[in-house]
């Protein structure tokens, strides 16, 4: 069964009686444990789609099922990391993670939740890095679905690489992988992390690619492989040239 099932989704931003159509008749099926990257230029609607999946925006029309149930609003079975923010600035790193755990897992006692918060902060390393703490919180919430909106785009190359590796490692540790929807405009990042890459243009999925590498992935081996180079060339062509390209799957 698909854990995320989106069909015929349409969304417009309304402003003073004028409608700005952002997503048009969108279909998206994601299997449990799948890592899907959505890439596209800014303004193509990829962040809007993520906000709809998070329950922050309501679609104009279409069906949206999470684990078979219609989506009505935000829920802790979906943890989200936003591009620039996520944490509450008045809380410490520890309190932020703890707050997420308490919201998502009310069955845990205060000391259990505290212990878990410490464990995840240790896992991500530096607690003065807001991105790492945001990821620690999202993972500690033990949600089935992770929604990540360009989480690494504001970082320098070194931190970005480290966090990509960390995400790969953390997602793989406990047997059953989480389902991830990852929005990015970084082609290299998409190929490194995803099982499937969807290219979005003007509110529609224009192309779909399956990433062939096995997990856990090694950064250097992946980057130097010929499949990586082929995939990257195709994506760059899509990204920077308006040419029609055949994809490796019918779409």
């Amino acid at each position: 069964m698909n854990i995320i099932d989106v069909s015929h989704l349409t969304f417009s931003y309304k402003k003073n009686n004028s409608y700005n159509r952002v997503l048009t008749d969108l279909n998206l099926q994601i299997k449990e444990g799948e890592f899907v990257c959505i890439i596209g230029h800014s303004g193509c609607g990829k962040s809007t789609l993520l906000n709809i999946l998070a329950g922050l925006l309501l679609p104009d029309s279409g069906n949206l099922l999470i684990e078979g149930k219609a989506l009505t609003g935000p829920g802790t079975e979906r943890a989200i990391v936003f591009q620039h923010y996520s944490l509450f600035p008045w809380m410490t790193a520890y309190k932020n993670v703890l707050f997420g755990i308490q919201q998502a897992r009310s069955e845990l006692s205060k000391s259990e939740a505290g212990e878990l918060a410490r464990v995840y902060i240790r896992k991500v390393g530096l607690e003065d890095n807001v991105k790492r703490v945001a990821i620690a919180r999202a993972l500690a919430m033990d949600s089935k679905i992770l929604l990540l909106d360009e989480p690494f785009s504001a970082l320098d190359a070194k931190n970005r690489n480290e966090l990509q590796q960390l995400l790969e490692y953390l997602l793989d540790t406990n047997g059953n992988r989480k389902t991830v929807v990852f929005v990015t405009h970084d082609i290299e990042e998409a190929i490194l992390l995803a099982d499937r890459i969807l290219f979005m243009r003007q509110g529609r999925f224009e192309a779909e690619f399956t990433v062939p590498f096995s997990r856990p992935r090694n950064r250097e081996n992946t980057l130097s492989s010929s499949e990586y180079k082929k995939l990257k060339t195709k994506l760059i062509d899509l990204f920077y040239f308006d040419s029609e390209l055949e994809t490796n799957e019918d779409f």
Binding site: R78, G100, A104
Partner: protein, 302 residues
């Protein structure tokens, strides 16, 4: 920064002239001028403390002292030496400072009484303004009811209903506390509603995706979100409180700083009136200093 600037020497030169003038005979009604000398000594001590231990804006500090000593000196010369001003309307500094020494106990009682009302009124004003403003700002239905009401009631200056409240309330003190309370409550309530309503979208989204309920939202998200604005508004709040307090005390109290001033005004004893005004100045300065400490603590926490 240079401590011993030109301003430093000019300030001390004026101070020495002032001390000499205080010690030579003139138009003074009190026997000794010890109180004024002690006052000068205390001002000098504060000045030296800021100059040597704080070392911030040392030249400007000395310039300020030139102005302070010059005003005292002009006051001293005009009243005790040249007799330029009406002795009843403009008392000399020796007499004014003597009030602090002779009415020490009474002045302290007045300050204590005023502070009690000020703290009670301000505490409940801010407390209820926050406690009610947060849920009203957050829950749309409550906001739609109470925001228009607050908009109508907030701009009414509390001083216009102070006389009526004094007639209405059982004791004068309760009336004063209510005047301060209302003067603080409505602006706090209104500003909290507006602040909650204009919460940054990303904070709101971050909270929404964690599926927080209303209670958690108000206690864990909105309260810490609005607290800095309450703390940064404390100075204005304090000025409003003192204004309302002294005004209310002038209307029929038997204690407090406002009472002290209006009481001696009725007897045309302007020496005590001027002393009372200086006292209010000192109290407000101390309150300001206290608020600064709170604000600095809060900035560290942010």
């Amino acid at each position: 920064m240079k401590i011993f600037s030109k301003s430093f020497f000019i300030a001390h030169f004026i101070m020495i002239v002032l001390i000499i003038l205080v010690n030579i005979p003139g138009q003074k009604s009190v026997e000794d001028s010890k109180a004024l000398l002690v006052g000068i000594f205390i001002i000098e001590l504060i000045y030296l403390y800021k100059l040597i231990l704080k070392r911030k804006n040392v030249v400007a500090l000395s310039d300020i002292m030139i102005i302070v000593w010059s005003i005292l000196l002009l006051w001293e010369i005009a009243t005790t030496q040249l007799n330029l001003l009406h002795p009843v309307l403009v008392p000399n500094p020796e007499d004014v400072f003597h009030v602090f020494a002779s009415q020490y106990n009474m002045l302290l009682l007045c300050v204590a009484s005023s502070m009690e009302l000020l703290v009670i009124g301000t505490f409940f004003g801010i407390g209820l303004g926050l406690g009610l403003g947060l849920p009203v700002g957050w829950i749309p239905r409550l906001r739609e009811i109470f925001y228009p009401i607050a908009n109508v009631l907030t701009p009414i200056p509390p001083v216009v209903y102070a006389p009526y409240l004094i007639a209405l309330m059982p004791t004068f003190r309760s009336a004063s506390a209510v005047v301060i309370f209302l003067g603080i409550f409505w602006p706090t309530f209104l500003s909290i509603i507006i602040r909650v309503n204009s919460i940054e979208p990303h904070i709101l989204d971050s909270a929404k995706v964690l599926n927080v309920n209303n209670k958690t939202m108000i206690r864990k998200i909105l309260l810490p979100y609005v607290i800095p604005s309450v703390i940064s508004g404390l100075k204005v709040t304090m000025i409003t409180s003192v204004m309302l307090l002294t005004f209310a005390e002038m209307m029929g109290a038997t204690r407090g700083m406002g009472f002290y001033i209006i009481n001696y005004t009725h007897y045309a004893n302007y020496t005590n009136v001027v002393a009372g005004i200086i006292l209010v100045g000192i109290v407000v300065t101390l309150l300001n200093w206290f608020i600064n400490i709170i604000q600095n603590k809060a900035i560290k926490w942010q």
